[in-house]
């Protein structure tokens, strides 16, 4: 029982912690710099790593049916040409699955900011969000 005590206390402490309010961010600002792989990211972007955030975005039109993971962009029309790495956020839903939905959607969750690369060294994602939409 004594060995379980720290776990019980930790669980109680977590339960008692206040729910972290998400910070409202804009994808326009995440995209508002010239990204190059390996660069030092602007502090305003890097500081969001691990932070709970909420933002409006549009599902990328290549979103699969019945998926947990998909890409979103801040600009529905992608009017500025081909979207670049820092124009995308990769969403992984905490629960449930979805297909493509048109129109602006609000997402909330914890943001990760770091390069995730494939075996060719190509950046698969820079921003990732574990969360949900409503």
């Amino acid at each position: 029982m004594r060995r379980l005590l720290p776990l019980v206390l930790a669980a109680l402490a977590v339960g008692a912690m206040p729910v972290e309010d998400p910070i409202e961010i804009e994808l326009t600002k995440l995209a508002d710099y010239d990204y190059r792989p390996g660069m030092d990211l602007p502090a305003s972007v890097a500081d969001l790593d691990g932070i709970r955030v909420v933002f409006d975005a549009y599902m990328h039109n290549e979103t699969d049916d019945d998926t947990k993971t998909f890409l979103v962009v801040g600009d529905a029309c992608m009017c500025a040409g081909t979207p670049l790495v820092n124009h995308f956020v990769e969403i992984t839903l905490d629960s449930g699955r979805t297909g493509y939905r048109p129109g602006q959607i609000t997402f909330e969750g914890r943001l990760s900011v770091s390069e995730k690369t494939d075996d060719l060294g190509l950046v698969e994602s820079l921003y990732r969000l574990d969360g949900n939409f409503f």
Partner: protein
């Protein structure tokens, strides 16, 4: 003689080394081609750009691919990079594709060609400036910049005066400014005051951010005007005036009179009904109907407006709402370069409902459900035959046909 035997040995060594390098590059090129064609939207442009450094291997591999696949099948990222690999044969294929109005990746082909345009291709690039697709016109501006074709500056002035695309006008203004005609920056400064929206898309805000980046690049310093708010907002007013003074001074005290298409106009009332078409073949078309019985064409600082018969919009909203009521889903087709979105908002304060049809490069039969076709027929019938002397209803009908097939 030792001296005479050295060069052949050196050449042989160089050939062997080149062969080894080529053999090492080949698998990587194939993997990059695969990633550029079938990877995620994040990866595809990077993989394509990586091929430029491996052009000696990539160009013949791409030509081999084209023996079994069409240029369209390669996808837009490879189409674009095909123009940057230094292969005359690939470039000629892109030129032919551009001449085909049914080729789905014409903007990508134009961008690829523009990046390394040759002097003898100038006339063909100039023709892009009259293209119905804004992205192709934009590539035309890039091409003139790459050619440093300063004698063609008057055609850029014509774009500033009347091009319907804010992006084309911004590109033209940046190039004209780079060539020393600094009053062209006034076009971009004006964009800082945009507040326009198209349903849930904050087009004015996106334009302010794009204008800020363009001006910072042209002026060589950060702007004090913050794009989060329009330039005329109290927080920005002083900085905006200082910016105008700076640009005016650079232009020798001249501030041009902006044409209506570029000048920020009165706010558009909230729209109840609208249509957005983005077609890689038929171009971009935006229209919306506001409660005050006006039809608004286009997006941007100052869309064209047409007065309709009183009661038109109320009737349309009722007709279209009833037509769409039985539909249980709101999206049809596959992701691709052709899309149409119908917007309907019965409560001006609420988010619009959206019905979307999209498809890839190939035509798809029976893509649009009859209920949506009926709604679109009602909408198209409410558009005047011609607006400002240009065919409106027929153009809209053709654009819808290019995406979801004929309405009838």
């Amino acid at each position: 003689m030792a001296t005479s035997s050295k060069p052949p040995l050196r050449w042989l060594a160089a050939l062997v080394l080149a062969g080894v390098a080529s053999a090492q590059a080949a698998p990587q090129v194939d993997r990059l081609l695969e990633a550029a064609q079938n990877g995620s939207p994040v990866v595809r442009p990077q993989a394509a750009e990586r091929l430029i450094a491996l052009a000696d291997e990539a160009a013949p591999r791409m030509l081999t691919l084209l023996e079994t696949e069409s240029l369209a099948d390669l996808g837009q990222e490879l189409v674009e990079v095909a123009g940057k690999l230094g292969s005359a044969e690939l470039r000629e294929r892109l030129w032919r594709a551009l001449d085909d109005r049914d080729f789905p990746w014409r903007p990508a082909a134009a961008r690829g060609l523009a990046a390394s345009i040759q002097a003898f291709e100038r006339e063909r690039a100039l023709a892009w400036l009259d293209d119905p697709l804004a992205s192709v016109r934009s590539a035309g501006v890039t091409a003139l910049g790459a050619l440093d074709a300063r004698a063609d500056e008057p055609v850029l002035h014509a774009l500033l005066k009347s091009d319907s695309s804010d992006r084309v006008r911004r590109d033209a203004a940046e190039l004209v400014d780079a060539w020393g005609t600094r009053w062209a920056l006034a076009w971009i400064v004006e964009e800082l005051d945009r507040t326009d929206v198209f349903f849930d898309q904050d087009t004015g805000r996106a334009a302010r951010f794009a204008a800020t980046r363009a001006l910072e690049q042209r002026l060589g310093h950060a702007l004090a005007v913050r794009p989060e708010e329009p330039a005329s907002a109290p927080a920005n007013a002083a900085a905006f005036q200082a910016l105008r003074d700076e640009v005016k001074a650079l232009a020798g005290g001249r501030w041009p009179k902006l044409p209506a298409v570029a000048k920020v106009g009165a706010a558009v009332p909230p729209a109840l009904l609208g249509l957005e078409i983005r077609s890689c073949r038929a171009g971009e078309h935006f229209l919306r109907f506001s409660a005050d019985d006006r039809l608004w064409l286009g997006v941007g600082a100052n869309p064209t407006s047409v007065a309709l018969e009183p009661g038109t919009v109320e009737r349309l909203v009722a007709t279209i709402g009833a037509a769409l009521e039985p539909l249980e889903v709101d999206t049809w087709g596959e992701p691709g370069c052709d899309a149409e979105q119908l917007y309907l908002r019965t409560d001006p304060a609420a988010a619009p409902r959206i019905w979307r049809v999209s498809k890839g490069a190939e035509a798809v039969a029976d893509l649009r459900p009859e209920a949506l076709a009926a709604a679109l027929r009602a909408l198209v019938a409410a558009v005047p035959e011609a607006i400002d002397g240009a065919p409106a209803r027929r153009t809209l009908d053709a654009a819808l046909s290019a995406v979801g097939g004929p309405l009838e």
